[in-house]
């Protein structure tokens, strides 16, 4: 142990931060509430039954924003495969297509080949950094608005509301014994689930084949079994995860909330209950009698009722909070009704909350976005994006790779010339067939080349091959160097014989017999 005097002074934990334990227990926290029992009660059960969440309908700024995000994301998901994009006769006309069979990925004017997988890697890195950026700036915004699990759960919860009514009606129906009415309602609701799930799974496969063709093939039972299996699996997962698992996916299955929890700091914008303002809680009546004694929270539990994951935001940050902001909408309404200022629950940073609790002026929330951490994330994110755009713009659509024959490394011909054989891969990334000229660079005069399709008597220093549209043409090339010319390296060049005159060079070796 080090001498206690040399250690830095122990910091007192800020009491304002200690919301999780300072507040009385709540039934809504899905983890903490699971095993609560007094010592005298029987031991807890080993397995925990899910407590259904019947979130109440709410309207407000965040609800409308969620509607908008749902509309945009679902539209993108369902419409994208149907967008046509003319690429000429040699390439598919689907704007976004993952052509696994031919190993091509089309996205509007961009076509990615397997060897350019670094573009996909770059996109994934950008997605990861983008999530870091969003998380450090506005907390779990991804979880709250854009995550497919959230969007589809939201959709299914609207179906619940549409079929069974709002919160109280749903709770009643849940408790009611099974009877004709409940069976009818449940089968109706689950049928709607199933339709949505089928549409979800069905739309997915359209990204992997020509959408109109696959769509008609699918219903005439002519599509491949992989298509049906994929639709089946995705229908099931949508039905199960969106219709029944819901918030349990976020709490138990998804690693991302746990990672995000580690990435949030006191400068991240979070959905926060301002307990300095709300506590102690008291009814409107009590607060009227003794205004000094009670805070703004009237314990109406509206924030709990509207929560899609069924938590109580007043317990502080927790894994179940996806920061969708619906509790802000609910609380703002109540505050307006009882004539108190809005924002008892609001997007705020922890620093801001502490400053507010001390009665200090707080900077506007957007200032929390501009800080070194977010700026660094943004810079890296932007740099990778810019580099990829540059690479995309600068890439040539003609490429050449060469691999020399290793067995045998060289070949002696009758007249004493030395021949090496090479496998050339000439890549034509344009959606039309192109003539390409292959030439030898850096070999002595008299060096000749022919291929497996060109007769040896037609050997010449340059040869022209036609490369089919969007393909790699494999050419076996034979190169002879006249006797007595020690060469050990040279290059093949390929030039597209069109107005672009794209060029690529591939260096390689030339093996000769060891001279005695």
């Amino acid at each position: 142990m080090a001498d206690p005097d040399t250690l830095p002074p122990v910091r007192e934990p800020a009491p304002a931060r200690d919301w999780g334990t300072a507040l009385p227990s709540s039934k809504a926290d899905p983890i903490a509430a699971t095993a609560r029992h007094a010592p005298s009660q029987p031991p807890p059960k080993l397995y925990e039954k899910r407590k259904a969440v019947h979130n109440k309908r709410i309207d407000g700024w965040f609800r409308r924003f969620k509607w908008l995000v749902m509309l945009v994301t679902l539209t993108i998901y369902y419409v994208t495969p149907w967008i046509r994009w003319d690429r000429g006769p040699y390439a598919p006309d689907q704007a976004v297509l993952v052509d696994l069979a031919n190993r091509r990925f089309y996205m509007f004017d961009i076509e990615i080949w397997p060897h350019e997988f670094y573009f996909v890697a770059g996109l994934l890195i950008m997605a990861a950094l983008g999530l870091f950026l969003v998380t450090s700036a506005v907390g779990r915004a991804w979880c709250g608005y854009a995550c497919p699990q959230t969007v589809w759960t939201d959709l299914f919860q609207h179906v619940d509301r549409f079929v069974d009514g709002d919160r109280n009606a749903r709770m009643r129906l849940d408790r009611a014994p099974w009877g004709p009415k409940k069976i009818a309602k449940r089968s109706f609701k689950w049928s709607i689930y199933l339709v949505i799930s089928l549409l979800t799974g069905g739309a997915w496969i359209l990204y992997f084949a020509d959408a109109p063709t696959l769509f008609s093939d699918f219903f005439t039972l002519e599509a491949s079994s992989v298509a049906y299996a994929t639709v089946g699996i995705l229908t099931f997962t949508t039905f199960w995860l969106g219709g029944f698992m819901r918030e349990q996916v976020c709490i138990y299955m998804c690693p991302w909330p746990r990672i995000q929890a580690a990435m949030l700091d006191e400068k991240s914008l979070l959905v926060t209950y301002k307990e300095w303002r709300g506590e102690p809680r008291g009814s409107v009546k009590k607060a009227k009698k003794e205004p000094e004694k009670y805070g703004d929270c009237i314990d109406c539990l509206q924030c709990v009722a509207v929560c899609p994951t069924g938590i109580d935001i007043r317990e502080g940050q927790q894994i179940g909070c996806i920061t969708c902001g619906l509790c802000i909408d609910a609380c703002d309404r109540v505050m307006a009704d009882i004539g108190r200022p809005r924002g008892l629950i609001d997007y705020a940073t922890l620093d801001q909350c502490e400053a507010e609790a001390r009665g200090e002026e707080t900077p506007p929330p957007w200032k929390a976005l501009l800080r070194p951490r977010t700026l660094i994330y943004f810079t890296i994110w932007g740099a990778i994006g810019a580099a990829m755009l540059f690479a995309l713009g600068a890439r040539t659509h003609t490429e050449l790779t060469v691999s020399p024959d290793r067995n045998p490394p060289y070949m002696l011909m009758k007249d004493g010339t030395v021949r090496n054989a090479y496998t050339l891969r000439v890549r034509n990334m344009e959606a039309r067939p192109r003539d390409m000229e292959i030439a030898l660079a850096g070999l002595p005069a008299g060096s000749l080349m022919w291929t497996d399709r060109i007769r040896s008597e037609d050997a010449a220093p340059r040869q022209t091959v036609t490369v089919p549209a969007n393909e790699i043409r494999v050419v076996r090339a034979y190169v002879t160097v006249p006797a007595g010319n020690p060469v050990d390296a040279f290059a093949f060049t390929v030039t597209s014989l069109d107005e672009q005159r794209e060029r690529d060079t591939a260096e390689t070796t030339f093996d000769s017999p060891v001279s005695e």
Binding site: I31, P44, L46, M411, M413, A421
Partner: protein, 319 residues
């Protein structure tokens, strides 16, 4: 062990009773769906064990009700592949080998099929790169030196009938006399020097020229250019089947080695042989009818009556 019935105050959860360095484990219940997923996996396993090969037994594993096996899958897939190739095979069978290069796609497929067959049947002697082995006298198939002819039809003929092969009456055959019994050692040296001089490797002599003229030109040609129809190799080029060292050349004149290659007509089907010929021809040295190196080839007489001529020839390996 800590007291099991203790309760963790903040969460109200019971302790499991394990403690490491003051960190204790809570008995947090598992969600119910997890339990059902576990049961579902057990049910899945039970069904799987009945349907598919599962339990290892003494001889082999249990077979499963469905009778599935990965071996069966392979047989089925190979059958499908054979079916897919059939059209190409039929087309190759119907195309005369000399007409094959006129159809570049078919030629390409023949070369690819030949490459596969070569790996199975030919690499044992000629090597994976078809470069042969000088020490055994297995010829290199990549170069442009052909003992028995480098046209597609000649290569196919060699593949069908072999070289010095008992299995075919039409096999390519010749024998070079052992000049060790005819020449004295001095003459052997003189001829060796002269033969090497044909390709500029040594200084020839008038005596050597005379000996060569009298004994060798009948088969190897006046300038040692060889006669493919007889399987007499060219002696004036850079390629030497048994080596270009004077001792190697001398030994080949004195007591020649005669290589042999089996014909493949009894082992391979005509299409495979045709594809092999296309592959060997495509290795960079294939000849075409009408090449200036090509001579008007007399019909090869392989019935044995030409033994007198044949035995005077030096010939080895295949074409």
């Amino acid at each position: 062990m800590a007291d099991k019935s203790r309760i963790d105050e903040p969460t109200g959860t019971e302790f499991v009773g394990h403690e490491w360095d003051g960190i204790e484990e809570l008995n947090t219940p598992l969600p119910r769906w997890w339990l059902w997923t576990f049961y579902a996996s057990i049910a899945f396993a039970a069904v799987y064990v009945v349907l598919y090969p599962a339990w290892p037994m003494v001889e082999r594993a249990t077979q499963g009700v469905l009778g599935w096996s990965s071996r069966g899958d392979l047989v089925e897939e190979m059958g499908r592949a054979d079916l897919a190739r059939r059209a190409t095979f039929e087309k190759i069978a119907a195309t005369d080998i000399t007409k094959l290069p006129a159809d570049p796609d078919l030629m390409g497929q023949a070369i690819a099929g030949g490459a596969a067959a070569f790996k199975q049947h030919c690499v044992q002697c000629h090597g994976a790169g078809a470069a042969g082995y000088e020490e055994y006298g297995y010829p290199n198939l990549n170069d442009d030196d052909w003992i028995w002819g480098g046209e597609l039809s000649e290569i196919e003929y060699t593949l069908i009938h072999g070289i010095r092969w008992d299995g075919s009456d039409e096999t390519r055959i010749n024998y070079m006399p052992a000049f060790g019994d005819i020449f004295d050692p001095g003459q052997l040296d003189t001829v060796t020097q002269y033969v090497l001089s044909l390709s500029g490797k040594a200084q020839g002599s008038a005596a050597g020229a005379e000996l060569f003229d009298q004994n060798c030109t009948a088969c190897h040609g006046v300038n040692g250019e060889g006669v493919q129809a007889l399987g007499a190799p060219a002696l004036n080029d850079a390629i030497w089947l048994y080596g270009d060292d004077p001792a190697q050349v001398r030994s080949q004149i004195a007591y020649p080695r005669h290589g042999a290659m089996p014909g493949w007509s009894d082992k391979l089907d005509p299409v495979t042989i045709r594809m092999l010929a296309a592959y060997v021809h495509s290795r960079g040295g294939g000849e075409y009818a009408g090449d200036e190196t090509e001579e008007v080839a007399p019909e090869f007489d392989g019935d044995g009556s030409s033994d007198d001529v044949a035995s005077a020839l030096q010939g080895e390996g295949d074409g």
